[in-house]
């Protein structure tokens, strides 16, 4: 067994391609998702058309501009310009104050602000409008306090756990999940398929080693490597992206280990059904990667999917792991809140192990 594990490490460390996949991917993915693929909006160019130009509108304007989300493009002078600047992409949003804004507010207790956003990029538009209205209602509250008027009901939305709506919070759990899934499932399935392709598997099967020993020998190194990877992603997200683990780190690592075992058993299963390295690779890419990204709730919210897809997403192991990671890392919840998801993943692991042991035996006949 020991010799087996050492041999497997030789395989990994002497193949620079698998080395790159193993250790380069986590870094690249975390950085990519953390920085490049950010869905936050910073410094969006906006225009403000102020027909009133009184104290209130100036205060609101400065509040908006000092938020850090927007920068002012002061080329726009009138409503006639709006379409043109949108078309050139010079601004993402235009805010228009009606005339006599302060006076109306005082007399009628009501004044209007129009917000027009460039929705050719709907996500950004949505975010910008939300930010803007949040800032305005914030101002409204302050204003009301000063006026000491009878109580007015205002809705107050609060973004729990992630008040700044940092997208890092959303991506890190997803990236951990994808990487653990990919590295463990894909690498093991490829490495077992390679033994088959090279003919070395036959020699191993002729030897007194039991199938379970052969599989364990192949799998243990990847458990260790995947675990190292999970740690390095957590470290990266903490030091580079500033995302702490709020809950118990031990619980987080234990859950990762469970997920790794699940992904490994899936990888073994893939290798028992594929004859070559290419096939193992394709199977893990298409059968694992795409559904992991698309159906796990990593990028697209599961609630928004059509019902059939929602049902399918239930059998995606990453879906449950992402819930676990989010609960521990972001919400800081304990095991009592995630035992159900943990149980599901453990069940899946057992299922795939049983299936591949059965497959492995059948293959010998």
């Amino acid at each position: 067994m020991r010799g087996f594990i050492i041999k497997e490490f030789y395989h990994i460390f002497r193949d620079y391609r698998s080395m790159i996949v193993l250790f380069g991917m986590p870094v690249i993915q975390v950085l990519l998702f953390g920085f490049a693929l950010s869905t936050e909006v910073k410094n969006a160019p906006i225009a403000i058309i102020d027909h009133s130009n009184d104290q209130v509108t100036r205060e609101i304007t400065s509040k908006i501009l000092s938020s850090g989300f927007f920068i002012l493009n002061d080329e726009v002078r009138g409503e006639g310009h709006i379409e043109e600047v949108f078309r050139h992409g010079k601004v993402k949003e235009v805010i228009i104050f009606e005339s006599d804004f302060a006076t109306r507010l005082e007399k009628d207790h009501q004044a209007n602000i129009q917000v027009i956003a460039d929705a050719s990029d709907p996500n950004t538009a949505n975010l910008l409008v939300n930010y803007t209205s949040a800032i305005i209602s914030d101002y409204q509250r302050e204003y009301l306090k000063e006026m000491s008027l009878p109580v007015t009901i205002t809705t107050e939305s609060q973004m729990m756990y992630n008040p700044d709506l940092k997208s890092v919070f959303m991506f890190v759990p997803g990236v951990i999940t994808i990487l653990l899934m990919l590295i463990t499932a894909m690498m093991t399935s490829i490495s077992i398929a390679r033994e088959k392709e090279m003919g070395t598997m036959e020699i191993l099967l002729v030897s007194p080693m039991r199938p379970i020993q052969i599989i364990a020998g192949k799998v243990v190194p990847y458990v260790l490597l995947a675990f190292v990877n999970a740690l390095s992603i957590l470290l990266l997200s903490y030091f580079v992206l500033g995302m702490p683990v709020k809950g118990s780190l031990v619980l987080m690592l234990a859950e990762s280990l469970l997920f790794i075992v699940m992904a490994l058993s899936l990888g073994i299963f893939i290798s028992t059904v594929s004859k070559s390295q290419q096939m193992a690779m394709m199977l893990s890419m298409f059968a694992l990667m795409l559904p992991t990204i698309l159906l796990s709730g990593f990028i697209f919210p599961i609630e928004n999917m059509p019902l059939p897809l929602q049902i399918i997403s239930n059998i995606m192991p990453p879906r449950w792991f992402i819930i676990i990671v989010k609960s521990i890392m972001i919400k800081g919840l304990g095991f009592t809140y995630i035992w159900k998801e943990t149980l599901i993943i453990a069940g899946m692991a057992l299922f795939f192990i049983a299936l591949s042991v059965k497959k492995f035996k059948v293959r010998l006949d």
């Binding site: 041999k7 003919g199 036959e202 007194p208």
Partner: protein
Amino acid sequence: MPIIEVENLVKKFGSFVANDHLTFSVEEGEIFGFLGANGAGKTTAMKILCGLSAPTSGKVMIAGFDVYRQAEMIKKRIGYMSQRFSLFEDLSVWENFQFYGGIYGLSSATIKQRTTELLGRLGLESEKNQLLGSLPLGWKQKLAFSVAIIHRPSIVFLDEPTGGVDPITRRQFWEIIYETASQGITVFVTTHYMDEAEYCKRVSIMADGKIVALDTPANLKLKYNAANIEEVFLKIARN
């Protein structure tokens, strides 16, 4: 007592009969040639003897153990060199010996001693730290054979060990086989080179899943009135 005893071995894949009532035995220390055209069922039979595949019916005894019930005992006593090259290309010569010695449960001291001995016999001591992938095919085949006997098996199964190897290396390879047999290890070998069949003590020739001829090369030539085994083979294959 014969070391390999096969009686009425049948292997079916669905309705296809790959091995049709094979009966033969191999004596200890014998070099037994297992010939046949492609698709005659040689590899299937060999896989059954090695425990890689289960027979459909029939009696198979290897080194006194039953293939159905005592597969684990058999596995410790056989060596196997497959048709495809089967050492790890990205490991060094030494590491390959270490690994295969290890899976047969040899101690590191034993592995070290035997590796030195086997490499010495091949004259490849100076290559022991080279990656296997960088060596020529003939050397790799000789190394694969040495690895197959590192645990001193009673029987070594060689599935077309000399495929794609030059004549000089083939000759050397057979010298090693003889040396191995002289140490009491039974050699069970399949080949497509008929000149190699002449080196065997006895040969069997398979066609369509059956053994159609089994004798010493000399007797076969006499029986089929042929100058060499190649002619014997062609006469059998044409019928």
